[in-house]
Structure formats: structure tokens, C-alpha cells
Assembly symmetry: C2
Homo-oligomer: 521 residues x 2
């Protein structure tokens, strides 16, 4: 058996049966091997950033990794931004990066580059396979490494792929368990929470699923602690019947306000909160002065179990308070950011997966969707934009029976716009709500936040043109239909509601281009 | 003066007055500084790969670097593939990569990553600026380093950008001269060329401009040496009145045939020829057995001067044979690859800049454009696809008085399709000839070449779908018009000619979607 076939069989035996691919010449034997192993579903993307973002979205929903298939260093580079997001999300991803044949590397051919240096910047596990005989075991090791919550990258030379001598594994390698919280840390946190002093319980990682949130909610209810979660959770379960949680604000000033006065900060599955960016004269560390930090479980710890243990310690008889079912009324008239959010809240279907890259246009969404039927909310964990459309691809592949709503800002959409083609090819049930405000509105805001707006001379036009997406205006209906996704532009709440209902009633992907004003800076 | 302003002023003083930008929060002071320094032209791109590819295309035509402005590690990652091409082209590029404030780095905020590791994989020069006072000098050093023919990357922390204390340079730093060929190497090459044994003169780098080609042609004419140039030249001057040169073939078998029987291989501005990819059972090193290699000037050497010295040694009285003016007749009827190439050859305007990412669809172009009016031909030096539309952007900015024809394959176009928006915003005179064959046709060919096609079972459908761009078909007219570029689809030679004439007669960018059959594998 050639190496490539052993690799594909080993991935399948290890529980990886989806591969988001953008192959090149060095990956042709992997492609041929797909033909022999029908258990592996290959999904073609037209750009590597779509493949890696899809693998991230897939794993967040499937709780197991997909593979990517990337072409040498440049292909990996194209996928790097969404691998960065996956790294920050702690989601498992297995990259297979094709490389030149081992005999070819010495010639420094045009496509040769330092794959290891680039892969190392995002990968918790990295291996360059040296022979077909090792490939099966290496693949299984990559999957096990990924399942611990990281990006694992296997560099696959072309001759290792095409040579005979492959030996597939038939059993997955055991995955390392998440480290449990130690008793002393739990006790210290319990003491802090019951001290009577102001406490914040800050949760993240796996603790933003329903069971963890229920436990956190019990703790907050029993102790009076403020409950917050990470600004950009990997996967936040929410909606009617789920214990609610407020996300830490993105802007440092607002986050400082949320944490103000706390004497104890208990971290479960989350790292200590820091400002997303630095701002002149403002602190990066968001922990209030004099506040003690109690880390119960780290980002890769067994956070859900820790919260349940902690709840048993400090809130033994307390039931969680769950979000009641409540939807906004359907608004009418020309769209505003609030009315667009209300339409989403009014119509979000039961069991939806929301992939949120709405950036400033999504400001109004959290309260207006809090009582919608139970759903999952995936966010931009690493801040590398261009994540929404790809992650929606992966989430839809992972959960074919659930509707995916991709809430997508215009500027961010353009980084990985070709994901729409994969939505169409695979017939994915993704409804993209494309907020078109003709601007990098967040940068208009940040220009103020960092104090640079005051430096502008004259009318600031030369600077502001770099934050503007008009001249020419982007027409996302044309872009979507050009890639086979039915699309419609809406300017009123009624039109938006009708378009979303139509999208829900028809199979396959849709795009609704929602014309909104830019958020005020 | 704040650091950012010192930086922008220093870039301008060093001869860099164009910046292809995709900024984020950490770059807001750079953006504000643009307002104060109107000598710097900032060109917004919607994706970093467009910015870096544009900088490459710009420098190939302007013979001086442009700057890019990229947002942290993920932004650099998005730009990496085209920086790889620039590195292989030996073109000067100055990257400014914004980073978190120096005080913020310790907190490992979501967008933090190992910028140096990623930048190092493509940069011949790399510096992390530590203070505003150093920034001016660092910028000048970056420009000088770039001008030696490489990618120079300056990592710019946000606080270094916003703090006072910047001190701009007012003079460029001297650029290192290209190393001259030594007399012994020239003598050895001259002896080989005049030995009477079969010789190949293989040129690349700066030697593919008209003066170098004229000297190479004299040498070939006087000595009977075969003259070839690199498969993917950085900038090939060609057409009527320029000394012609044949490019080494992309496929190893054909290249082996071109070099067969040579006893001496003289390299000027080129590296010793190697196969682009490895193929099972075939050699990577294309130098025939028993052939002596004489390197006169390396890839970064003074190749043009070396060729002129060599010509004076071996061909003192010989005049170069220049390509005569000759155009194919305009063909008629349904488009084939040959007739589409003939339309290009018949209509290519005087002084055109051709950016060629036509891949398999461009097969027929070299002979049919050889006698067109004098033009420049830019190619995919590093093999990282997604280069055409961005490079055309930069070439058009560099040479506003020359028409740019971007000959672009469909699959490759989708990696950086948003470049069309920048064509429209800047009103660039770029005519994109988009070859739509609904396939990764080169991979169909490579599947055969690497011997993987024989492994396919059943009908091979599961593998072949990964090489197919139909289901759904891409509609490039819709994509272009969605980004503000007028576009038309053509299926006959007459329609193609009419569309190209219209594009030439109107200002600004155009796209002509040319429906062609896939090249036979």
C-alpha cells in the first residue's frame, strides 16, 4: 500500500473522516487515495483559508478534528490566519501539508520554503514524516495530539506519499485527558466566592457549553458573584433553557467597568482577562488593582468538571436560573442595526448554529437573541478576520441537520469570500446574513480609540479612505450568485424577515445582503 | 514627531512612495500619518495577499520597492504566498507589519503570534523596531536591504508607532552593488562557449531584460550555443525589436529534451535548472550527465554586465538578431486555446505589461505573441498561485501610462479575487483576460505526470471532483461586476477581440471572461 493510502486509512481509523482540501501537485497521491477510501469525505475549497477555517468550525461542532490538505509552504501560509483562530479556540485540527519529495528538497525548487517555521507558529504538534512505514502511526499521533485541543501539522513529502510500504493503523491512539483542577485550587476559589467580598467568576473554553454554564450560574446565584465569559468564546451554548452568561466586552473601557470593584477573580477554563489591543495610557491587564486571581482550571483544563465540583462546594442546593424563551417582535421599516438584530432574534431557528463575524454590525445581537430557541454561538477567537464564511462551511458539514446562520461583516467577508462556492457545491444549509455597511467600521472606531483620529490634518480624507469600502460599493448579491449561492439584497426589516424565511424554507445555501448604516464610532 | 510619521517620511526619503495597505487597529497611527505625508500614496487592498502581490508587481516594473502595511501575524500570513513569489523573483519589497505595543506583548492577547518566525521564512532582512528614535533609520535600512533584491520586513509595535521621538531620515541609505562576475569565471565560460562542444547559455534574473538578452543573443549567434531563460522569469522583455529567448519548459520531460546533449551549461543570473516538482523515477536535477556547469553570475549577481563582458569576449563583431514585428491574423469561430492566444497576439498593445498566470490555458501564447509590439511579461516565479490579479494591480500603479493585460486562469484567480476591487477603486488600466475552463486543469495533467491517475479505482470520480471547478460554475462576470469592474463573457474569437478592443478604448479596468476548453492532460 502506498503511503498516501495508509495515511487516509489511518486518519479514518483515528476518527477523522472529513478533509477540507485545496491540493496541488505534491498532494496528487493523497487525492488518488481518496478514491480508494470512500469513508473519507473530501470537501474542495478554492482557497486554503477556507479549508482551515472550515476545519475549525467543524471541530467546534463535531468535537473531533477534521483534516486539511494544503499545498506546501504557500498553501499553509494562505491557511495560517484561520489556524491562528483555531489555536486560540483550542479546537483540534489536523493539517496535512504536502511537501516536495525528500530527494527533491536539496534543489531548492521554486516552491520550496521553510514549512516548519511557518507551521510551528500555530501548531502544538508538528512532524515531518520520513517514510511510508511511519506515516500511519504519525497520522494517528497527529489526531491524538489534535484531540487534546490544538493544531497538529503533519508535513508529507511527495515520495513518502507515493512510495509503497505504508502500514495503516487500525485503532486510534489514546488522547491525553484534560488536567483536573486540584483540590487546593478549588478550595481557595470556594473560599473566595464565599468570602462576602465582590467576586467575578470568569469562564471560558469548554465551560461555555450548557453544563458548565449551569454550574457557573448556580455558583453565581448562591454566592452573588458576577458571572462573565471570555469575549470570544469558542462555542457558547445559549438561548431559551440554557443558563445565560454575559461576555466580557471587547473594548477595554467597557471591560474595566464590568470587572470594577472585584476583589476576587475566579478563572475556570479561561485565562486572566487582558485587553484585546493596547491603547495609549490604558492598562493591558484588565484585573482590577487589589483583586486576587484564582485559577481553578486553565484554558486546556477540565473546566466543566471543575465548575461542577465548585458548585457542589458553594451552591449545593441551588438550581441554575435558565434563560426564558423570549423573542423580540418583528420590527418594520428601514433597517437599523437594532432592527436587523431584532429580525435575527425573532427568526433564529431552533438548534441553529450561529457563526458570528458580524463585528460592529452585530452590536445589538446579544440581548435580542438571548431568549431565542437554544442555539450555539461561535466567535472569532483569535481576531484574524475572514473566519465566518469558512467556519460556517465546517459547522454545516459537521451538523447537516442543523441550520447554520453566518452573521458576516462585509470587510471581513472579502478575505475568504470563495467559501460561498463551497457552500453551493456541498449544498450546505448555511444562511449568510451579510451586513453591508460599506466600511471597515471597527477601524473607524479604533482610529478614535487609539487616539489617532486627533492627528488627522486637513479633512483626514487620505487616511479615512483606507477605512472605507465604497468607491466602488461591493455588491454581495452579485458575488454570491457568481459562486452559485442564491442571494437577495434587503433594505427594510420586512424584506429581511421575508428573505430569511425563504432561505429557511429552501434547501442549500443562501445569502441575504442586509444594507445597514455603519455603527457610530 | 510620532514614530509612525517618522517612518512614513523616512520611506518617502528613501524612495518608497507607494504603500499597498490592509491595516488594522495596531496600524492606525501609520494610517493617520499618511494624512500628514501626501507624498506617500496609499492603496487599499481588501486582503493582504493582494497587497504583497501588488508590491511584487510594482517593484518588477518600477525597479524600486513599494511598502506593504500588514496587520500582525495573521495579516502577514495572508500575504505570505505572494511574498514567497517576490522572494523567488528577487524583487524588492518592504513590509511594515504592525505588532502589539511592546508593553502588551507579555499578555499574549488573542492576536499575538510569532511574527518573526513567519516573516523569517520569506525575508532576507527582518527587524523588530524597539523605539521611535530608531524607526527612521530602520526604515531606511529596510529600503536599502530590499533594493538589493529581497523582501525586507520591519515589525512595528503599536507604541513605537504612536510615541513621540521619531526622527526621520532625509537621505536614502546606499544600496549594496550586485557582485560582478570574476574574470576567471568569465574566461572559463568563454572557453566553454568557444570549445566547439554543445553549449547552453541559461539566463535569468535581470538578464531577461532587453540589454541582457541582446548580449546573450550575440553570444548564441557567434558561438552556436542554445539560448534559454528561466521557466518563470521575473520580468521578460520581449516582442518586436527585442532579442528573443525561449523559456525552459515547466514539465521535466520537455526541459530534459531542451537541454539534451549539452556538454557545457553557462549560467548568467540563473540558478542551475531543476525540475519544478519531483516525479517518481525522474531526475530533479535537469543538468544532463557529463555536462559541465559554469556559473558566471548568480541570481543576485550583475548578470547584465556579465553577459555584455562575455559577448565582448566571444562575439565582438556580432549583432543581436532581434524579433521581427509579426502578429497572427485575428481568428474566427468558437474559442480554442490556440485561437484565444492568437487574439491576444493580434491585439496586444504597444508597451503592454503582461501579467501571466494563465497556467495551462496560456500554452499557446509564447509563439503567437513573440512578434507583438514590445512588451514586458511577468510570470509566477515562486509557483504560489493567486499572483496574477495582485501583480497586475502593482504593475498598473507603477506604470500608469502603460496598458496592463492580466492573463489569468480561473482557479488561481479565486485566491486573491478581491484585487478586482482595487483595480476599480484606483481606476487602473488593467484588462483581465480570465480563462474559464471550469477546472484545475494543471492538476488533471499533474495527476497523470506523477503517476497517480493509474491508482484511481472505479471511475475515479471522488478524486476527480477535487480537480473540478464546475458544480457550480463560477461566473466571473458576476464576480467582477460585484466589485465594480465592467465585465463581459465571450465564447468566440470575434467576441473576444471586440471585448478587448472595447476594454482598450475605455479608461479603467475591465474583465473579459474567455470560455475555453481545458487543456488536454
Amino acid at each position: 500500500m502506498i503511503g498516501a493510502q495508509a495515511l487516509v486509512r489511518s486518519l479514518v481509523a483515528s476518527g477523522v473522516d472529513v478533509c477540507f482540501a485545496n491540493p496541488g501537485t505534491s498532494e496528487m497521491h493523497f487525492v488518488a487515495a481518496l478514491d480508494a477510501v470512500p469513508e473519507m469525505r473530501a470537501v474542495l475549497t478554492l482557497f486554503e483559508g477556507v479549508a482551515t477555517g472550515a476545519a475549525d468550525g467543524y471541530a467546534r461542532m463535531a468535537d473531533r478534528p477534521a483534516a486539511t490538505l494544503l499545498h506546501l509552504g504557500p498553501g499553509l501560509g494562505n491557511g495560517l490566519a484561520n489556524l491562528h483562530n483555531a489555536r486560540r479556540a483550542g479546537t483540534p485540527v489536523v493539517n496535512v501539508v504536502g511537501d516536495h519529495a525528500t530527494t527533491h528538497a536539496q534543489y531548492d525548487a521554486p516552491l520550496q520554503s521553510d514549512i516548519a517555521a511557518v507551521a510551528g507558529s500555530v501548531s502544538g504538534w508538528l512532524r515531518h514524516t520520513g517514510s511510508p512505514a511511519e506515516l500511519g502511526a504519525d497520522a494517528a499521533a497527529a489526531v491524538a495530539a489534535a484531540r487534546a485541543g490544538q493544531v497538529a501539522t503533519l508535513v508529507l513529502p511527495a515520495d513518502v506519499s507515493w512510495d509503497e510500504g505504508g502500514s495503516p493503523v487500525t485503532e486510534p491512539v489514546a488522547v491525553a485527558q484534560r488536567p483536573a483542577a486540584d483540590a487546593a485550587a478549588l478550595r481557595a476559589a470556594a473560599d473566595a466566592l464565599t468570602s462576602g467580598e465582590p467576586c467575578v467568576l470568569f469562564v471560558g473554553g469548554e465551560a461555555t457549553r450548557a453544563p458548565g454554564l449551569a454550574a457557573a450560574n448556580r455558583i453565581a446565584a448562591a454566592t452573588g458573584a458576577r458571572l462573565l465569559c471570555e469575549t470570544f468564546p469558542t462555542r457558547l451554548e445559549r438561548g431559551a433553557g440554557v443558563a445565560p452568561v454575559t461576555r466580557l466586552a471587547y473594548l477595554a473601557d467597557a471591560a474595566v467597568h464590568q470587572l470594577a470593584g472585584a476583589r476576587h477573580l475566579v478563572l475556570v477554563g479561561a485565562r486572566s482577562p487582558v485587553s484585546f489591543f493596547a491603547y495609549p495610557g490604558k492598562p493591558s491587564d484588565l484585573v482590577p488593582e487589589g483583586c486576587a486571581v484564582h485559577a481553578v482550571a486553565g484554558r486546556d483544563g477540565a473546566a466543566e468538571a471543575a465548575l461542577e465540583e465548585l458548585a457542589d462546594l458553594v451552591a449545593p442546593g441551588t438550581a441554575p436560573r435558565l434563560a426564558p424563551a423570549a423573542r423580540p417582535e418583528l420590527p418594520t421599516g428601514p433597517l437599523t442595526l437594532d432592527s436587523a438584530a431584532a429580525v435575527v432574534g425573532a427568526l433564529l431557528p431552533e438548534g441553529a448554529i450561529v457563526v458570528d463575524e458580524s463585528v460592529t454590525s452585530g452590536r445589538g445581537l446579544p440581548p435580542l437573541t438571548a431568549g431565542a430557541p437554544r442555539h450555539d454561538w461561535l466567535t472569532l477567537t483569535g481576531g484574524a478576520i475572514g473566519y465566518g464564511l469558512p467556519a460556517a462551511t465546517g459547522a454545516a458539514v459537521a451538523c447537516p441537520d442543523r441550520p447554520v446562520w453566518c452573521l458576516q461583516a462585509d470587510g471581513s467577508a472579502m478575505y475568504t469570500i470563495s467559501a460561498l462556492w463551497t457552500h453551493a457545491r456541498e449544498g450546505l444549509d448555511v444562511t449568510t446574513v451579510l451586513y453591508n455597511n460599506s466600511a471597515y467600521a471597527i477601524l473607524r472606531m479604533e482610529l478614535q480609540q487609539v487616539g489617532a483620529a486627533g492627528l488627522l490634518e486637513r479633512d483626514g480624507e487620505r487616511a479615512r479612505q483606507l477605512l472605507d469600502l465604497s468607491r466602488p460599493d461591493l455588491d454581495f448579491v452579485a458575488l454570491a450568485t457568481g459562486m452559485g449561492v442564491p442571494a437577495v439584497r434587503v433594505t427594510t426589516a420586512e424584506e429581511m424577515a421575508a428573505a430569511l424565511r425563504r432561505a429557511g424554507a429552501e434547501p442549500g445555501p443562501h445569502l441575504v445582503e442586509v444594507m445597514v448604516p455603519p455603527a457610530a464610532p
